[in-house]
Symmetry: C2
Subunit: 335 residues, 2 copies
C-alpha cells in the first residue's frame, strides 16, 4: 500500500457505514480515493466525505478495481458474495459481518487485544460482533493479570445494532405510544418500546441464539482460550445507540477491585467510569458518539474472591463496528 489508500465501503448507506465515513474523517485515515457501495436502492445517493459529495455506486463484482482496502458492513450474505471479488482485485477486506469470523485462516481482531493476528491474514480480516468487542477490551488486562476461567454475561443491546430500520421502528413505536396508537412491528417480532426482548439474531438448536454463540466462540478465538466457558444471554432493550453489558468474570487467581480498576485505567481503549457514590457509572446515552469502552460498577464477588463483576458500555456502531474496523485498517497500514 502507498501513502494514500483507495478505500471502498460496502454498505455505505447503513448505520455502520455512516460511522465508518465519519471515523475515517475524524482519524484522518490516509484516504486517496473513496468509493461508496450499496444496493440498487441507494444508487446515485450522495454522501459527503471531507466536504465532497460522492455518489453511491451499486455493489458488484467489478466494484473493487484498484481498491486497497474494502470495509464491508452489509450483512453476511453480501460479504460472502462480494468479499472474494474484493480480495481477487487485490484489496484487503475488513469484514464487519459474521461470514468469515470463525474460519481458521481469517484473523478475528480487536486491536487492543490481539493485533498480532492481523499479520496472518490472507485477504480477509474479520471484525468481531459488537457485543464481543467491548467485553474483550475490558477483559484483556484482567486476563493478562489473573487468567480468565469463566464468563457469565447478560447484555442490554441497543436497536442500532440491528440497523437503521430498527432505530426507525423504536422511534415510530414511541411516537405511537405517545399518541395512544397501537405499536406496529416490522423489524422485531414484538414491540421493543417499553419492553426487553431476550432474542437477538436467530435461535439455534442448542436453545442459544446466534448472538449468544457469537459471544461464546468469538471470545474464545480472540482471547486464544478455545475452551473458555462462556455463558451469554443477549437481550435487546429500548435504547437507540450503545450496548451495555453485565459481566461476571471468574479468574484462576484471587482478584481485587482496586487492582482491577488500576489495570483497567491503564488499558488501551478503556475508560473507567466508576464513582457510584456520585452516581457515576457508564451509561449508553453517554457512550453514544464516543470511542472508549466505558467500565464501571467494578466489584469482587462476595462469595468468590476469584470473581469480578463489572458493567461495560460502548457505542456499538463505533467500537462495536466501524471504529474497530478502521483501527484494524490502521494497524494494517503500519505494516
Amino acid at each position: 500500500m502507498s501513502r494514500g489508500f483507495k478505500v471502498a465501503i460496502a454498505g455505505a448507506t447503513g448505520a455502520v457505514g455512516d460511522a465508518m465515513r465519519t471515523i475515517l474523517e475524524e482519524r484522518e485515515f490516509p484516504v486517496e480515493e473513496v468509493r461508496f457501495l450499496a444496493s440498487h436502492r441507494s444508487e446515485g445517493k450522495k454522501l459527503t466525505f471531507r466536504g465532497e459529495e460522492i455518489s453511491v455506486q451499486v455493489l458488484g463484482n467489478d466494484s473493487f478495481r484498484g481498491i486497497d482496502l474494502a470495509l464491508f458492513s452489509a450483512g453476511s450474505a453480501i460479504s460472502k458474495e462480494f468479499a472474494p471479488a474484493a480480495v481477487k482485485a487485490g484489496a484487503v477486506v475488513v469484514d464487519n459481518s459474521s461470514a468469515f469470523r470463525m474460519e481458521e485462516d481469517v484473523p478475528l481482531v480487536v486491536p487492543e487485544v490481539n493485533p498480532e493476528e492481523i499479520a496472518n491474514h490472507r485477504g480477509i480480516i474479520a471484525n468481531p460482533n459488537c457485543s464481543t468487542i467491548q467485553m474483550v477490551v475490558a477483559l484483556k488486562p484482567l486476563h493478562d493479570k489473573w487468567r480468565l476461567s469463566r464468563i457469565v454475561v447478560s447484555t442490554y443491546q441497543s436497536v442500532s445494532g440491528t440497523g437503521r430500520r430498527a432505530m426507525a421502528e423504536l422511534e415510530e413505536q414511541v411516537r405511537s405510544w405517545v399518541e395512544g396508537k397501537k405499536l406496529e412491528c416490522q423489524v422485531y417480532p414484538h414491540p421493543i418500546a417499553f419492553n426487553c426482548l431476550p432474542h437477538i439474531d436467530v435461535f439455534l438448536e442448542n436453545h442459544y441464539t446466534k448472538e449468544e454463540m457469537k459471544m461464546v466462540q468469538e471470545t474464545q478465538k480472540i482471547m486464544k482460550l478455545p475452551n473458555l466457558p462462556v455463558n451469554a444471554t443477549a437481550v435487546r432493550v429500548p435504547v437507540m445507540v450503545g450496548h451495555s453489558e453485565s459481566v461476571y468474570a471468574e479468574f484462576e487467581e484471587e482478584v481485587s477491585s482496586e487492582e482491577a480498576t488500576l489495570l483497567l485505567k491503564e488499558a488501551p481503549g478503556v475508560e473507567v467510569v466508576d464513582d457510584p457514590g456520585k452516581n457515576v457509572y457508564p451509561l449508553a446515552i453517554d457512550a453514544e458518539g464516543k470511542d472508549p469502552c466505558y467500565v464501571g460498577r467494578i466489584r469482587v464477588d462476595l462469595y468468590n474472591r476469584r470473581a469480578l463483576s463489572f458493567w461495560v458500555v460502548a457505542d456499538n456502531l463505533r467500537k462495536g463496528a466501524a471504529l474497530n474496523a478502521i483501527q484494524i485498517a490502521e494497524e494494517l497500514i503500519k505494516e
Copy 2:
C-alpha cells in the same frame, strides 16, 4: 379472625396500593371493611372499592383500631413508624417495605416457596423485594430437585418499581424526546428514557447497591440457604411495568433443560413460555396485569452440566408486591 376481615392499606394511593385494591377485589378476599390510609397529601381523595367510593384517611397511630389485617406499602420509614402501632392494635401486618425483612423474628414469605414460615410471625410478616420474589418462585422447584449452589443474576427492572413518579418521569422524558426537548430528571439521577441505569436503590460500602444486596440476603433467607453464593447486578430499564431477569443458576447435580421445563410447568405460580422457534419467550409487556412468573429461554450451560440459564418475567406491582402480600394474607386466614 372472623368470616370477614377488616383490612387497612397503608400507602393506598401508590402504584402498589392500587394493585392491592384491584387484587383484593379480583380474588374476592373476604373484606368486611376496608380502610385506605395515606399521607396528608391524599387526605379525602376518593378510591373505589367494590363499586363504593371510600375516602382516604391520614395514616396515624390511631388508624388501626379494629383492623385485622394491615397491608403496608408506603416505604420503609412509614413501616418503621406505624407498623408497631398496627400490631399493638391487634392487626397482623404484611409489610411490603424492606424495614423488617431481615429481622430474625419476622418471616419473609413467598407463598409458593416457604408458606410454612407464616406461622412463626409475631405480628409482622415481610413481603420480599420484587426482584427476589420472581426469581425464587422459579428457582424453588429446581432447587428441590437439584439443590442450588450458586446464582448469578442480572435484572432488567421497570420504572414502576420506583413508583408513580418514576412512571411519570419516563413518560415525560419520552414525550420530550418526541418533541425534541431536553429530558428533565427528577426521580433518577440520569435520563431513563433510551438508557439503562446500573443503579437501583442506594450504593453500599461494598460497591453493591442495596437492591443487589436484597437479592442476595432475601434469597438466602427465603430459600433457607444462608450461605448460598448470590451475585446480582440490578439495572433499571425504560419499561413501565414488569421486571425481567437473566438468571444463571448452578446446582449440586447435573441438570437437563427438558426436566427443568417439566418441573417449572408443574410449579405453583410459574408459567412456562418457551418456544423460541416461534419467537415465544416471556416479555414484560405481556406480563403486565398478570399474576404468574413467566419463565423461558431455559437452557443448560454449554460448559457446566450443573448450570441452567433462564429468563423470568413478572409484573413487579403484582407478584413482585401486591399479589404476593395478598397471597400471604390468604395463607394467614386459612389458619
